[in-house]
């Protein structure tokens, strides 16, 4: 026990020293994968991270005995156990400092961490280690952490870069709402604005369009407005502000409250044909494929809560997202499933 603690402290000192020298890296990626094997795609750390988490989650249940044969050779035997626990803490702390992904991923990581800890013989030292070594842990947390020695991915071999799809879904449409917080006279708006149409018998709102960004807005008499057609979140916000300015110029005391993105639609092409009949057989609880009604397969992903329309030509439409990362995550989740159906 004492021996292990000494080794642990030695290792911690080593890590702190290394942090000062190592180049900054995305903290999301390095704890999971050793540097020499894997060059993360820095533009989409979230997606890569999440796809790794999938594997981590799958094998989290299989921790009956800690088999360390997968670790790279640099790690000496006595450091292996400590380093795993150590980096588990690193990961947990790192992810607590990250805002978005951690909310999704943290429960799983903690499960794995706890699973490991309970199975390891060093469970006692773990409880001493954490609070006592808070100081030495802190500096490395501040910097983007680099852990060249440790790979936490339990049991599964390192996934090479080609597993990541390399395809980025393009956003096609963003729907957002905003509250102008004043009652509007729709007739007056339709009269004084060139780009407005108002047919109360058909629909109880003014339909207004602007050219840049090319969007359409539905403006209701209560002062609420829906803006559709933008290709990015920023464009949607800009467009909504322009509509609010038009309404302002027409003499209403319009404000710009509670701007919220309600839906995002993205699309991409995996570039191979997909056997939809096979996909609906294996993923029956998520898929709905009715060729008599619609040529595509409707896949309702649970996490993240996205609906995907998958077509035989390989084109995929993703919808139902409130954030861009959900679309990317959903695509990274579906890509390996689709690859499984590439051949008949």
């Amino acid at each position: 026990m004492e021996e292990e603690q000494t080794y642990l402290e030695l290792y911690l000192d080593q890590c702190v020293a290394q942090d000062d020298l190592a180049p900054p890296r995305s903290p999301l990626l390095s704890p999971v994968v050793p540097d020499d094997v894997y060059m993360p795609n820095s533009s989409h750390p979230e997606t890569v991270f999440n796809s790794h988490l999938e594997e981590v989650k799958e094998t989290s249940g299989h921790f009956s005995s800690v088999d360390l044969s997968f670790l790279p050779d640099e790690l000496t035997q006595e450091n292996k156990d400590q380093s795993i626990i150590r980096s588990k803490h690193e990961i947990e702390d790192n992810y607590k400092t990250q805002s978005q992904q951690s909310r999704l991923s943290l429960p799983r990581e903690q499960d794995i961490g706890l699973g490991l800890i309970s199975n390891s013989s060093l469970s006692n030292s773990h409880s001493h280690l954490y609070p006592g070594d808070a100081d030495s842990v802190q500096p490395s947390l501040e910097k983007p952490n680099s852990m060249p020695l440790v790979s936490i991915t339990p049991m599964t071999p390192m996934t090479p870069v080609s597993e990541c799809s390399g395809i980025v879904p393009q956003l096609q449409n963003i729907v957002s709402t905003v509250n102008l917080a004043c009652k509007l006279d729709l007739k007056k708006i339709a009269l004084h604005a060139k780009n407005a149409e108002y047919n109360p018998k058909r629909f109880a709102a003014v339909i207004m369009r602007i050219r840049e960004p090319r969007t359409t807005a539905l403006i209701f008499s209560s002062g609420k407005m829906v803006c559709t057609g933008a290709k990015s979140e920023e464009q949607s916000r800009l467009a909504a502000r322009k509509y609010a300015r038009v309404v302002q110029k027409l003499g209403f005391p319009a404000r710009f409250l509670d701007f919220k993105i309600q839906n995002m639609v993205g699309s991409c092409d995996v570039r191979f044909a997909i056997r939809l009949e096979g996909l609906v057989l294996t993923h029956q609880q998520f898929s709905s494929y009715e060729p008599e009604l619609f040529p595509g397969l409707i896949y309702r992903m649970v996490k993240p809560r996205i609906v995907l329309l998958i077509f035989v030509s390989g084109k995929v439409v993703l919808t139902g997202a409130k954030e861009r990362s959900e679309i990317y995550e959903a695509f990274e989740n579906i890509y390996p499933i689709l690859k499984g159906f590439k051949k008949a």
Binding site: K194, R237, K242, L281, P291, V312
Partner: protein, 421 residues
Amino acid sequence: MPGGGHCPDCGSTELVEDSHYSQSQLVCSDCGCVVTEGVLTTTFSDEGNLREVTYSRSTGENEQVSRSQQRGLRRVRDLCRVLQLPSTFEDTAVAYYQQAYRHSGIRAARLQKKEVLVGCCVLITCRQHNWPLTMGTICTLLYADLDVFSGTYMQIVKLLGLDVPSLCLADLVKTYCSSFRLFQASPSVPAKYVEDKEKMLSRTLQLVELADETWLVTGRHPLPVITAATFLAWQSLQPSERLTCSLARFCKLANVDLPCPASSRLQELLAVLLRMAEQLAWLQVLRLDRRSVVKHIGDLLQHRHTLVRKAFRDGPAESEAGEEERPGRGQGPGQGKEEVASRSLDLPEGKRPASPALLLPPCMLKPPKRVCPPPPISTATGDEDISDSEIEQYLRTPQEVRDFQKAQAARQAATGVSNPP
């Protein structure tokens, strides 16, 4: 004054218990309104005045089967009988209908939707027992729109959380082919057009399997493919006499509706067969076209597995020795070998078979209608300044407003004149 009541008419609390012909009554002493006439029990707060509780607020809905539900259940049973389904299907379908009726959204739905729901329950039952029933058939029987049907169907599957298996293609082929009136001579069907049912069924099945393998079925409505396959099977069994008959005439003879996409499915299937024919040495010399290939469908179907493998390839263009394969692709070397082997197998004359076409769904083989340029990477932040001139371009000048109002008034007057009250 009995427990906390007040007159519903004038609101007075002066209620007096009176009896009228030995029936006890609660009467308001101010306005004389009879508040209650002696009900046995009080259960709801409304019955504080011993007034009746409306049906929608009672538990009657859950305890009794409402009239519209009874009607719906009767319709379910009738539909099962019309379709000649086994009796067990009837019970299952009725159970689904009752299950659906427990949801308030269904109870409050329009009659049209409840009518369509009958069809949905029967369809789900049939699908779960692998009984080949198409949505088109049900819509025809119910005189329903496919759009309404599809909406209700998707909703009910989600609501009840059901696992509905896909339509079984082989069974559908058997049922659909049996409905063709070609197995006996009749005044409308000359003897040379009559065909043996078993032969036609087996050949149609093989053609449908071929279509499935070559991506002609995925994502498409299944029925037109089967129509095209049946037509080809029928033609190929006696090509000399039947080549002159067109698809439309064939369907009319057989007393079956011709679905619109069937002719394009037919062309696609013939194209696949032609590609396969190019791999057979003795057919290559004949230089077949879409009409003459029908005569050889029997041979092509007999060797269809080998021919499809030789005639088509999965991936992008590969060189003969497969040397351009990317090292990552495992199937590359395997396929290259196959190509070389096929080359050595056929054609002693040294005439090479046509280079393999891509085995892809037709939608991937067609050139894209318009190439979408990738969107320019915008550096919008959403908080840029909005210039006044940009906003003003969307506003009408006062003169324009006046003109517009005049024009509107003129139009109103014109329509008023043309439609005299």
